[in-house]
C-alpha cells in the first residue's frame, strides 16, 4: 500500500514536470527501477521486427573521444531513425553510457552519464520526451581493464537499449 502510494507520488511529481531542482524532503525512499514503464508501451513483435531489419536501427552505439561527450555528425541519421521508431511505438529506451578504464570509477560513471545524457538530449531535440528515455551510466565497469591505446576507443560509448529486449 505504502509503496504504491509512494510510486504515485513520485510519478505525479514527474508528470507535473517539476524541475529537477525541487526534490522535496517528504519524498523519502524512492521507487524501484524502472519507474517509467507504466507510461510507455511494451515492445510488440512488429516493433521487434523493425528493430532487427532496419540497418540504422541495428546501430546502437555512439562513440566518443577521450574525456568527450559531444556527438559527432556521423550519428545524426542513426539517431533520427531511433527517434522515429520510439515515437512510432511509444516505447521506453535506456541510454547506457560508458567510459574507458582510465581515471576513477566514480568520475567515469559521471562521464558515462554525460554521454548518455548527450544522446538523450539529441532525442529530445528530435521530439522525444523524457518519459520515454532513461539515462544510465556504467562508467568503466563494462570496459576492458587491460586495453592500451586505440583498443580503448570502443569503451567510450553510449548504447541505445530498448526496455523489454
Amino acid at each position: 500500500m505504502k509503496q504504491s502510494l509512494l510510486a504515485t507520488m513520485l510519478m505525479s511529481s514527474i508528470i507535473a514536470g517539476c524541475s529537477s531542482t525541487d526534490l522535496k524532503e517528504s519524498m523519502g525512499l524512492n521507487a524501484p527501477f524502472p519507474e517509467l514503464t507504466s507510461q510507455t508501451a511494451q515492445l510488440t513483435p512488429a516493433a521487434m521486427d523493425e528493430l532487427a531489419s532496419n540497418p540504422l536501427l541495428t546501430e546502437r552505439s555512439i562513440y566518443f573521444g577521450f574525456n568527450k561527450y559531444d556527438i559527432k555528425s556521423e550519428y545524426s541519421d542513426m539517431l533520427a531513425a531511433h527517434a522515429e521508431f520510439i515515437s512510432k511505438y511509444n516505447v521506453a529506451v535506456s541510454i547506457n553510457g560508458n567510459a574507458d578504464f582510465r581515471g576513477s570509477h566514480e568520475y567515469n560513471l559521471s562521464l558515462g552519464q554525460k554521454r548518455s545524457v548527450a544522446v538523450g538530449d539529441s532525442l529530445n531535440s528530435l521530439g522525444i520526451g523524457n518519459n520515454n528515455v532513461e539515462t544510465v551510466s556504467y562508467g568503466e565497469e563494462n570496459a576492458n581493464q587491460e586495453c592500451t591505446g586505440s583498443a580503448c576507443d570502443q569503451d567510450r560509448r553510449a548504447d541505445i537499449v530498448y526496455v523489454g529486449e
Partner: protein, 434 residues
C-alpha cells in the same frame, strides 16, 4: 689590624685577577635549520618463543613489517647476532649502538595450553634505558593481533601519533567477469573475509567513521544504487535508488549523513541524505559534472571534482549557509578523487600528469603539491586514520590491478598481499579502542 688589611687587599687582588680571566657571558648560538626525512633505525629481535604447530609469520617480523610500512622506521637485520636478548636485562648497549640501532624491541612468549603470554620491552639505545615494558595475553588466534598491538604502542611512543596497525580495510575483488566480492581484512591484507558477493560490480566502498557500517555502490539492480551494510549484523539497507545513478557515498565525520551523487537531474550532482536514506537535500546544481564528494574533518566543507572549467578539477563548497564554490587544484591536466587527511591539512587526490594517473597530496595552506606515486594507473587513494599512510590501487600497462600502501612522505611503497585477483576500490576503517 694592618696585617689583616694586607691579606684582604691581597685576596681582593687575587679575586679580580681570577674573575677578569673569565670569558664573557655570551654563549655561542648555533642555528640548525631544516632536517632530513629519515627513518628511525630500530632493531626487533626474534622473540623467544616455543610455540608449536604455528606456521604463522613470526611476531618480530610482523612488527618489523608494520613499522617499515609506515615509512618512519627502518628495521635492522638482526640475523647475524649470536645472543639475542629476550628481556631488558643485560643489554650490551655499545654493541647495538655499533649496529646503528637507536631503539631495540625484545620479547618472550610463553605458551600455556592455548594461551600466549607475551612479555616485551622497547629500549632506548642512546639513553640506555627501557622506554616501555608490558605483558599481553591472548589465544593463539590472536598472535598477529598481539604483534600489531606492540607495533601500535611502539609507534605511538616514538612518533607521538596513534598507530593504525590494528585497523581494518575493505576492498572489492573481481574474481571473474561475473563474480565480485566486497572484502574486509586486517590493514595489511591478512585475515580477509567477504561480506558481500555479487555477479555485478561493486564500487566506492566507504567505512563509516564510527566503524560500524560500510556504504557501497552496487550494480546488481542493473544500475548503480547505494547500500549501507551493518558490520555486526551483516544486514543492509538500500539508502539511495533514485532515477538515474546513485553513487559516491561519503560519510559525514559524525557518521550521521551521507553525501551522495545522483543523476536525477541528468548530470551528476551532489546531494546530502541521512545515513538511513531519509531527508534528501540538494547541495548545488550546475550544468557540469559534480561528483566524488568528500567532507572536511570539521564537517563544514565538502570537496568534490567537477568539469565546470573544462577539465576535471577539485573544488570545495560550504555545507551550510554561503554556497561559495572555490577551486582548490590548479596543476595538471585533471585532478580527481579528493579526500582530506584526518587533521584537515592535506588534500589527497589523483592527478593526471602526462597521461599518467598518480596519487598526490596538496598542502592546503601552502598549496604545494607532492606526487607520491609514479602511476600510470594509480587510483582510489584513501588515508589511514592517522594520516600517515595512503591505501591505493595500481597497475602496470595491461596487468591486473593491485593494492598497496604509500607513506605520506612518499618514501615507502609496499604492496598488500591479498591474492592474485583484481582489486577495484578500497577504503580504510577507523582507529578502534579495544
Amino acid at each position: 689590624m694592618k696585617i689583616i688589611q694586607n691579606y684582604i687587599y691581597r685576596f681582593i687582588f687575587l679575586l679580580t685577577l681570577i674573575t677578569s680571566s673569565f670569558p664573557s657571558n655570551s654563549i655561542e648560538v648555533i642555528e640548525i635549520l631544516g632536517g632530513k626525512a629519515s627513518q628511525i633505525p630500530i632493531a626487533i629481535t626474534p622473540f623467544n618463543e616455543e610455540i608449536k604447530n604455528i606456521d604463522l609469520e613470526k611476531m618480530h617480523k610482523v612488527i618489523a613489517n608494520d613499522l617499515e610500512r609506515s615509512g618512519l622506521f627502518t628495521s635492522l637485520d638482526t640475523s647475524g647476532i649470536s645472543t639475542i636478548p629476550d628481556s631488558d636485562m643485560l643489554i650490551n648497549f655499545s654493541n647495538w649502538s655499533a649496529l646503528q640501532a637507536q631503539f631495540l624491541v625484545v620479547g618472550k612468549i610463553i605458551t600455556i595450553q592455548n594461551k600466549l603470554t607475551t612479555r616485551w620491552s622497547l629500549i632506548d639505545i642512546y639513553k640506555e634505558k627501557t622506554v616501555l615494558s608490558m605483558e599481553f595475553s591472548g589465544s593463539k588466534k590472536q598472535y598477529r593481533a598481539i604483534a600489531h598491538k606492540i607495533s601500535d604502542l611502539v609507534y605511538k611512543k616514538l612518533t607521538g601519533s596513534p598507530g593504525v596497525f590494528h585497523t581494518r580495510i575493505t576492498f572489492v575483488k573481481k574474481k571473474s567477469e561475473k563474480i565480485y566480492g566486497l572484502y574486509v581484512s586486517d590493514y595489511d591484507g591478512f585475515n580477509q573475509r567477504a561480506i558481500v558477493n555479487s555477479s555485478q560490480p561493486i564500487i566506492s566502498p566507504r567505512w563509516s567513521p564510527d566503524g560500524k557500517k560500510i556504504a557501497y555502490v552496487s550494480f546488481e539492480k542493473k544500475k548503480p544504487v547505494i547500500y549501507v551494510q551493518d558490520l555486526t549484523t551483516g544486514k543492509r539497507v538500500l539508502v539511495a535508488n533514485f532515477k538515474g545513478n546513485n553513487s559516491a557515498p561519503a560519510w559525514s565525520p559524525d557518521s550521521k549523513k551521507l553525501a551522495i551523487v545522483l543523476t536525477y537531474s541528468a548530470n551528476s550532482q551532489i546531494y546530502i541524505i541521512n545515513s538511513d536514506g531519509s531527508g534528501i537535500k540538494q547541495l548545488m546544481r550546475t550544468r557540469s559534472i559534480n561528483t566524488e564528494p568528500a567532507w572536511s574533518p570539521d564537517g563544514k566543507e565538502i570537496f568534490f571534482s567537477s568539469d565546470r572549467g573544462g577539465n576535471p578539477q577539485i573544488y570545495k563548497v560550504n555545507v551550510e549557509g554561503v554556497s561559495d564554490v572555490n577551486r582548490v587544484t590548479f596543476e595538471g591536466k585533471g585532478n580527481l578523487s579528493p579526500s582530506l587527511s584526518p587533521d584537515g591539512k592535506l588534500l589527497l587526490f589523483l592527478t593526471q600528469d602526462n597521461g599518467k594517473f598518480r596519487v598526490a597530496v596538496q598542502n592546503l595552506s601552502t598549496n604545494q603539491v607532492l606526487k607520491l606515486t609514479k602511476g600510470p594507473h594509480d587510483e582510489s587513494p584513501i588515508f589511514s586514520p592517522n594520516g600517515h599512510m595512503i591505501l591505493f590501487t595500481y597497475k602496470d600497462y595491461g596487468k591486473t590491478t593491485k593494492i598497496g600502501t604509500v607513506s605520506v612522505n612518499g618514501l615507502k611503497v609496499t604492496p598488500l598481499r591479498v591474492g592474485s585477483e583484481a582489486i577495484l576500490e578500497s577504503s580504510w576503517g577507523p582507529i578502534t579502542n579495544n
